[in-house]
Symmetry: C2
Subunit: 389 residues, 2 copies
Amino acid sequence: MSSEFISKVDKEARRKAANILRDKFLNLVEQLKKGEPLVMEIPMRTLSNAIYDEKRKLLLLGEKKLRRNFLDLNEAKRFMQTVLMASIIYDALVSDEYPTIRDLYYRGKHSLLLKSIEGNKIVSEENTWDEQKESDSVIVDIEVFTSLLREEMLILSKEKGKVVGNLRIRSGNDVIDLSKTGHGAYAIEPTPDLIDFIDVDAEFVLVVEKDAVFQQLHRAGFWKQYKSILITSAGQPDRATRRFVRRLNEELKLPVYILTDADPYGWYIFSVFRIGSISLSYESERLATPDAKFLGVSMGDIFGNSRKKPYLSEAERKNYIIKAKDADIKRAEEIKNYEWFKTKAWQEEINTFLQRKAKLEIEAMASKGLKFLAFQYIPEKITNKDYIA
Amino acid sequence: MSSEFISKVDKEARRKAANILRDKFLNLVEQLKKGEPLVMEIPMRTLSNAIYDEKRKLLLLGEKKLRRNFLDLNEAKRFMQTVLMASIIYDALVSDEYPTIRDLYYRGKHSLLLKSIEGNKIVSEENTWDEQKESDSVIVDIEVFTSLLREEMLILSKEKGKVVGNLRIRSGNDVIDLSKTGHGAYAIEPTPDLIDFIDVDAEFVLVVEKDAVFQQLHRAGFWKQYKSILITSAGQPDRATRRFVRRLNEELKLPVYILTDADPYGWYIFSVFRIGSISLSYESERLATPDAKFLGVSMGDIFGNSRKKPYLSEAERKNYIIKAKDADIKRAEEIKNYEWFKTKAWQEEINTFLQRKAKLEIEAMASKGLKFLAFQYIPEKITNKDYIA
């Protein structure tokens, strides 16, 4: 690799990750030397070990651990997969490679042949793995085993998040002024922990689910008018966008408001930002933003409630509301039972939805005029603290 | 709108588009004044009027026109929709709005009521439109009627394309150095015609289908090593990415190489960049890059051919190749019949695929080492002109 083009930040990150990975797996060599059976103790990633921490408002991995024993026939293959993957990742780290999880799947995919003692006959043949979900699962095992996120091991991924606003960052060898991106935006890197925040002149962070609405708000100068940082997750947020938002909140102490469609899918996007995803609770501690607020669009914005008038007229409701589908209703009923949606405000929100069977897209608000969306609806709701926490 | 935050470029673009739109529709007023029947003549967008221009290597709209007559019962609704949409777009232009096509759907969605002469009874009720596909179709009519692309009317959209490389551009009020984006990238604006190219120090453009592979090549310093501009379409390219690539080719005279998976979906992505999409041939003249080359991954890279050795060993083929599904075979047979795939090289490519029934992802090449992908495979193929034009 032409290593002169690789940033110093990356080189340092590699060195750190390689050391941790090596130390953790050298334990196995120690076990061997002592004649002990080879065993890895890995935190369990089952639903029963995903615990919602009321106080920290995070979905965390519990204390339960599984023992992966090389001499157990049921676990030998998974043991082999784990060590194989760790060695591939280690090789990638020390060779200045930037694999993706798809790469890692390919890199490790081959057949192990058991030959007869004479060496001329294949007695048995076993694939390391067949499907990517097997190798992905092993990567997660290595993450929880080493407490290194994949990004820290320089494993890259597709990245959809974009940002603009009054913030200067250092990424790689460059300083980037996120207020000087013209009509375009800055596409967040897949390893947001390697970003340095240099200076910021913003009062809050607004995260918009939809890329097209982000484009509109950006173009209209929203973040200039209300000193802020504007982000889009372009749908379901990826890891890097979540980590970036968390860092803005935690390190720069900026409040985070999330704007999605008014439907269970939008609530779930909010939930992933705020709490973490159920299947990946081990990463929540680093990726979730427990302080994030759901700015809207809320059922109260559409129908009004005891505390406020609706933003929509009767005629607008008639034209804009989309009837909820059965799948939406089912999803809402599931979400209603999530631990972290069991607050008064959320139960009221979800109940109103179930009663009215009505969804609304952010674009319906934009169609009332971008002026309305950018310079009335959003700032008014922030000022009035009209959000769901 | 806080118009001080809106770029001058946008203001000028608005003024131009509003004038063209107004002039075109003022013709209808002229017809009325003269007592003529109201008729719009709009280029037909049927498959039979999408013509492949051999010489320019573009899919273009033919000469056929349809007459939309207000007094024809079958056309009155569509006539009304067209005029309604034009007036909404015009209003948006002069009010500094940046609608999306979803917005425009909502903005125009309402019921027209026909009341009795006494005015106290609703005799008939008709919705302007019910589904977005109706309003979208009318937007396209307006595009071909006025020869204004939606982007020129400041209609924004979701945008996935990213770019890095030795290029400085002016976008909005800012000058952006695309070689100074750190580990992140520049997210292309939805209106790439408003970008000014300031200076460039690059020898070619490499477009990568997959965002994750883009991240890898970027991080490894590919575009620094081989003075180039690196772009990802993140899957099927959107309009802005296509227009941006076309402008790099046409205005900066840079050769464009496209790197996709070796499968019919990848070929189609190439085809959209090079020729245009069948359903939207009216836009090809502006968005397509007839000079774009398919760099790979090709069947020859996998299996070799009479002219070269394969890049993969027998063992690698065994581990990396994905068996083509029935849908892939069907797609390949369709593509084989497209006019612009009827060259010797493409027919050989597609026939090999149909014979071998084998697909390959770019990631399989990356798994042979990023060094191999970035610093051997890609540059070697460019140097040897080992691509399909």
